[in-house]
């Protein structure tokens, strides 16, 4: 990496009010995680370089710091701008091995091969797992998922798109490893939803 980026895009676009913004973003995320299937509004508080979205960058700026290695998918590593933006604004080390990451940022979920390449934690420490932030374009116009589990009264619906390949099977395998497993944060424009590992997918009637 050459030292000086051509624009100021790397240094700009962080939180202008880090205390207030991260609290608002976190509460939206906490509600999304506590009530899977609900869609929570995210404020527009960051302006990262493309293709990183404002929602995904607000979430990573809220959650990541020097203690949390971050992994980026291929779409985000094409240029060094995203990596530099994250390093500058959060101080988080960017790692190349997905199983080392506390957080993974995925701009092209459809190209993500396997969820179990990330850290699933251990049976003793299931919290030592990767939380994956998927950048999706919609939470309500994709293929419908029916959800059950903690945080959900009876059933809930969510229709995010795009999702990783064979998502339903992958998610069932993830659920089967409980309490180990990854948690998904779905960052759509202006809003966020979450699929914690405790959420079960209901098989659709054929």
């Amino acid at each position: 990496m050459t030292a000086i980026p051509q624009t100021n895009a790397v240094y700009e676009g962080g939180f202008s009010d880090p205390v207030g913004a991260s609290q608002v973003v976190f509460r939206a995320l906490m509600d999304a995680m506590a009530r899977p299937g609900t869609i929570q509004v995210l404020p527009d508080v960051t302006a990262p370089p493309a293709p990183l979205s404002a929602s995904a960058s607000a979430l990573i700026a809220t959650l990541a710091d020097a203690d949390t290695p971050v992994w980026l998918d291929a779409a985000l590593t094409k240029s060094s701008a995203i990596r530099d933006w994250i390093v500058f604004h959060t101080g988080a080390p960017v790692v190349s091995n997905p199983s080392d990451a506390a957080f993974a940022l995925v701009a092209a979920p459809q190209n993500l091969s396997a969820l179990n390449g990330f850290s699933l934690g251990t049976q003793e420490f299931p919290d030592r797992s990767t939380t994956i932030i998927l950048q999706v374009s919609t939470l309500s116009d994709g293929a419908q998922l029916t959800l059950e589990g903690p945080g959900i009264k009876d059933q809930a619906q969510l229709a995010p798109d795009p999702l990783p390949q064979h998502f339903e099977n992958q998610w069932r395998a993830n659920r089967a490893a409980f309490p180990r497993g990854v948690d998904l944060i779905l960052a759509a424009p202006g809003c966020v939803a979450a699929l914690p590992r405790s959420t079960r997918l209901v098989r659709r009637e054929a």
């Binding site: 995680m33 710091d65 506390a102 420490f125 903690p150 959900i152 309490p179 405790s198």
Partner: protein, 312 residues
């Protein structure tokens, strides 16, 4: 007390971050909260900070509250159900000062309720967060002192020892004699300590509308129960779980099927039973409910309340 937030004292507190904790600490706690929600009942280790109050005064709950609270939140703090005890008053004042938030004693008005050892009688609603102060988060700790072993027991879902403990209660006393910190199983997986709430409150944890967060400062653990989650008190088929029942209604407001505190009135065996939830009791009295000891005079409530406070 809400005015406290706006006084000029908050100007001089510019050296404190919003809600006292620094941002890196909040991030660390927030990450632990998210893991706790994702794995209901699992105790997530976190790097608990020293707080400007001693362990045992709710440092875990305070750190959780500080990590989630925002300027628009309305905070209620209760200690054994009471809004007016030292612990509750101090923590409310702490957040009014460091975060400038509005505080309340009314359960329905609060967005965050920090509690020590009770769940309010008024049913909680969606959007409320209940933050528990937890002294010993590990339900197996008194049965197995080694952390390495209890961790393995949770990993292997090996909870036979807990049932043995409950069985020994039955063998000695003829019934399960555990009345507080009664162990629960969350979503069919983790056995969890509901903090030393009376077992009377255990059914309120089951399928609650509110998110429940637990913070143990000294033991450095955070855990959570999301809304609409199965929380089952451990029991046996022939000795099913039962909550406490009281023979008499609240002496102040006449409420039945609430948790009552026994208050000694004199040295001749005089005693009364009053609601442990002070907001519940006061709002019932305001609605005109009168218990046996309150009489008919509307002013009597204040005197009796002061008497109760003095006895505590």
């Amino acid at each position: 007390m809400n005015a406290l937030a706006q006084d000029e004292g908050s100007q001089n507190l510019a050296t404190y971050n919003f809600a006292y904790l620094d941002e890196q600490t909040k991030r660390m706690i927030r990450r632990a909260i998210l893991k706790g929600i994702a794995v209901p009942g699992y105790q997530v280790p976190f790097a608990s900070r020293e707080m400007p109050m001693p362990y045992g005064w709710g440092t875990g709950g305070v750190q959780v509250t500080a990590a989630i609270i925002g300027p628009d939140d309305v905070l209620k703090v209760i200690d054994q159900g009471a809004d007016d005890t030292t612990n509750a008053v101090s923590i409310r004042a702490f957040f009014a000062k460091t975060a400038g938030v509005a505080t309340t004693t009314a359960t329905p008005d609060a967005t965050i309720i920090q509690t020590r050892h009770r769940i309010p009688e008024t049913p909680l609603t969606q959007g409320q967060v209940l933050v528990y102060q937890v002294p010993i988060p590990e339900p197996l700790r008194f049965l197995e002192p080694r952390e390495t072993e209890t961790r393995k027991m949770h990993a292997l879902e090996e909870y036979g020892l807990m049932h043995v403990k409950l069985y020994e209660d039955i063998a000695r006393n003829g019934h399960i004699a555990t009345t507080y910190a009664y162990p629960v199983k969350v979503e069919g997986r983790y056995v969890m300590d509901p903090s030393p709430t009376p077992k009377f409150d255990n059914p309120k944890m089951h399928q609650s509308e509110a998110l429940q967060l637990f913070g143990a400062g000294r033991e450095k653990r955070i855990y959570a129960i999301p809304p609409h989650t199965e929380v089952v008190s451990l029991d046996f088929e022939d000795h099913p779980f039962e909550i406490q029942h009281f023979d008499q209604p609240c002496a102040m407001c006449g409420a039945v099927e609430v948790y009552l505190d026994e208050v000694v009135l004199d040295d001749k065996g005089g005693r009364m039973f009053v609601c442990s939830d002070t907001h519940h009791c006061e709002s019932r009295q305001a609605d005109g409910h009168r218990g046996a000891l309150l009489g008919e005079s509307p002013g009597a409530g204040d005197d009796a309340g002061a008497e109760k406070e003095a006895i505590r």
